[in-house]
């Protein structure tokens, strides 16, 4: 901001060369006074007023405690949360697309922009040429007319989606103050010519997995950075034609060591040293809760890490592929309930006593609570030894089990249990990580995999793009699902950042992801990914899979989306 002001001051000085000294002096004086004025009003908006404005904007609540009311279409009133500006203009103030209607950005930066400093935004990504048009700067009076009467700065009646609000002068003033400070500064991690991201690796992740993730991210960042320099030369997409600041993407790898209780401190230290705009991908074998808490607290978007059990706590800034093993548990419950008369009498869950195991077991137990299926839970021993026998005590070939276990444990179970085993053995697709070496000949008929990914030809087609890309960068294929998640993530990030033009605000990237994730070709291992406002899990179902005669996993059910 200040450098812009200095620039304009220089111009003033030059153009004033020919004028009288007195003139110059008075212009300087006026400029300096207005500078001071600008600094004061920008630096210290009245906090009470901002809060009043926030309540109107975000919640649709007036200072009197009454609900905000807007009129639309004569008879239809909107009030309260539905009338809140956030509903359409969004938390960031950067607008959105509502069906066929573009909702414009209304942050101070956009409303009051001068002729020579006009920010750009792309509201309707289907029409990259249709970037938010420059309009005359609003004044407080025209803005109040827009809000109260639905007449824009050019005197045009706005469309009916924008309600007409009954706000008094003080309330309009508070909203205006709120809009002036909303998304007014670029987020930490955004430099003039750089954009900083981090990825997070927690302890005990297999090194070949974390290595390949970092390799992929670095390759993708490198690819993007080199192609960006050629905007003016080879332009591939209309989006790239929109003028913008060139920013080099930088990646930090944050490794978390030791007990999860200490991660918060480690994260803060990393962040203090190198602030990042967003966290991309990331991988954990167990808990992710400290990371999610950190992201929420620092308001850092955490885009699609690969985790087996996302924390069960509401969070605006964390987006996930799915609910992980919790999703599998709900799907399994749904599947068992639908069996009607063929429902098993009981299901025995065997799990490791860690966050992921406990989480999965809890969800399935609760989901079957009021059904005729009895749920029994047994803990897998910490160390593999003879007491493995105990967990199978009393189990007959009539039983149904759910093994919330990873491949090494599954191999041990299979070894122990290869003669007399339960009739149906469910396993978790997440935890199995595509490693079905434990499925012996005897077991083959009996194993069912709760499988949260696409299968067969469709899957092959969807991830072909990723495989090609890996090949061209000589990156090994270690874990198809995991790597396709990382791949999807960088594609998403590329799209989002290109649509955001220069508006790198954190709330905005989350909103863009809510709207845009999964639109277009599917390059993921999931049948379908999509988010929407408030949704935080992009895939919402799973198959029950079994092994075909050729040993390949095939769907044994429809795609099940649990209640």
């Amino acid at each position: 901001m200040s450098s812009k002001i200095v620039d304009s001051l220089n111009i003033d000085l030059k153009s004033l060369d020919r004028k009288s000294k007195r003139g110059l002096f008075s212009v300087l004086l006026v400029t300096m006074i207005s500078l001071v004025g600008v600094e004061i009003s920008a630096a210290s908006p009245n906090p009470d007023e901002v809060e009043i404005g926030r309540k109107i904007y975000m919640e649709g609540v007036l200072p009197s405690g009454e609900l905000l009311k807007g009129v639309r279409q004569g008879a239809v009133q909107v009030e309260g949360a539905q009338a809140a500006c956030e509903t359409c203009h969004r938390r960031s103030g950067m607008g959105s697309l509502e069906g066929n209607f573009a909702v414009p950005p209304i942050t101070g930066r956009f409303l009051f922009a001068n002729e020579d400093d006009r920010p750009l935004a792309l509201v309707d990504t289907r029409q990259p040429k249709d970037i938010t048009r420059a309009h005359k700067p609003y004044a407080e009076s025209t803005l109040s007319k827009a809000i109260r009467e639905g007449v824009d700065v050019d005197g045009k009646d706005m469309n009916l989606l924008m309600p007409r609000y009954a706000l008094n002068d003080n309330e309009v003033k508070a909203v205006t103050t709120y809009l002036r400070q909303l998304s007014s500064e670029l987020a930490p991690g955004v430099g003039n010519d750089s954009l900083h991201f981090a990825t997070i690796i927690t302890q005990n992740v297999k090194p070949e997995k974390s290595d390949v993730m970092v390799k992929m991210l670095k390759a993708a960042f490198g690819q993007r950075n080199s192609s960006q320099q050629t905007y003016s030369g080879r332009m591939r997409m209309p989006l790239d034609l929109i003028p913008r600041q060139l920013r080099k993407w930088e990646l930090s790898v944050w490794e978390l060591k030791g007990e999860p209780e200490t991660w918060a401190e480690q994260l803060s230290e990393y962040y203090r040293r190198e602030p990042v705009f967003a966290v991309i991908s990331g991988v954990s074998n167990g808990t992710w809760s400290p990371v999610s808490k950190f992201c929420q607290q620092e308001k850092i978007p955490c885009l699609l890490p690969s985790v087996a059990l996302p924390p069960d706590e509401p969070s605006f800034y964390s987006l996930y592929y799915s609910k992980g093993v919790a999703l599998e548990a709900s799907v399994l419950a749904n599947h068992l309930r639908a069996k009607d008369k063929n429902k098993p009498r009981r299901i025995v869950q065997i799990y490791r006593d860690d966050e992921v195991g406990r989480g999965a077991v809890k969800v399935l137990s609760e989901a079957l609570k009021d059904s005729s299926v009895k749920v029994e839970n047994r803990i897998f021993p910490e160390k593999l030894s003879e007491n493995l026998k105990n967990i199978f005590k009393g189990l007959s070939s009539n039983d149904t089990v759910m093994l919330w276990l990873k491949p090494t444990d599954l191999v041990a179970v299979n070894k122990e249990n290869h003669k007399q085993f339960p009739r149906v053995i469910y396993v978790s697709g997440f935890l199995a990580e595509e490693d079905y070496g434990f499925v012996s000949k005897e077991w083959k008929e009996h194993v069912r995999v709760v499988y949260p990914y696409e299968l067969g030809e469709k899957r092959r087609k969807n991830i072909a793009g990723m495989q090609q890309w890996l090949k061209s960068w000589s990156i090994p294929l270690v874990d198809q699902v995991f790597q396709s998640e990382v791949f999807f993530d960088v594609l998403l990030l590329t799209d989002l950042s290109s649509q955001m033009i220069d508006n790198f605000y954190r709330d905005y990237i989350v909103e863009r992801a809510e709207d845009m994730l999964g639109i277009g070709s599917n390059f993921s291992a999931y049948p379908h990914l999509s988010l929407s406002r408030g949704q935080r899990f992009a895939s919402k179902g799973a198959y029950i899979g079994r092994f075909g005669s050729d040993g390949k996993l095939v769907a044994d059910s429809e795609w099940i989306v649990p209640e």
């Binding site: 279409q73 004569g74 008879a75 697309l97 509502e98 069906g99 066929n100 989606l161 379908h528 406002r533």
Partner: protein, 210 residues
Amino acid sequence: MTYCYRKLYLSTQYMKIIFIILGMLLMSQNLLADISSEENKKVQASQFTKVVADYKLPEVNVVRQDGKKLSFLKELNDGRPVILNFVFISCSAICPMLSHILSKVETQLTKDGQKFHLITISIDPENDTPSALTVYAKKFDAGVNWDFYTSTREASLTIQKAFKAFRGDKMNHASLIFLRPFAGKSWVRLEGFMSPDDVVAEYNAMLKTQ
């Protein structure tokens, strides 16, 4: 927007009549200057198009808000006149607006002693589960004549495409309401900004012409 209209005009096989009701838009600004702002809003409320069209509807299953699995065609063809629209729960502006309108329409038609069936189909079915739809219905005071349906993703897409209401993805949902007097008759397709009164008027006009 122009895109979808062009498409409508071109696909003559699906339409018999086009009415374009131009309210405010065509009136000159001068004319308006004399109208009080209240009336002004009322006139504005009629920015919608009306098209009469036939749709070939698919044989798919849907799940009602009470969890019952049902045939979509049977639900449509139960003898009552139908008023149908598409929403998704996390949609913030257009869908609540449509649902508000339908809520008022239901109240009015019930008061008029009409027999009818309001049908709302989710276009985000994996998220909009029956229990989520039950909550949504309550939010808009849905009465006994208004049902909400979810389905598989494929079935929802099939229905949207059959009604020519699919625009590529859920972000592109439009402000659409469909009316039909009984099975075998054409549909009246309303698109744009309509008031509850407009919909009730269109509904009554449709019944009268039978």
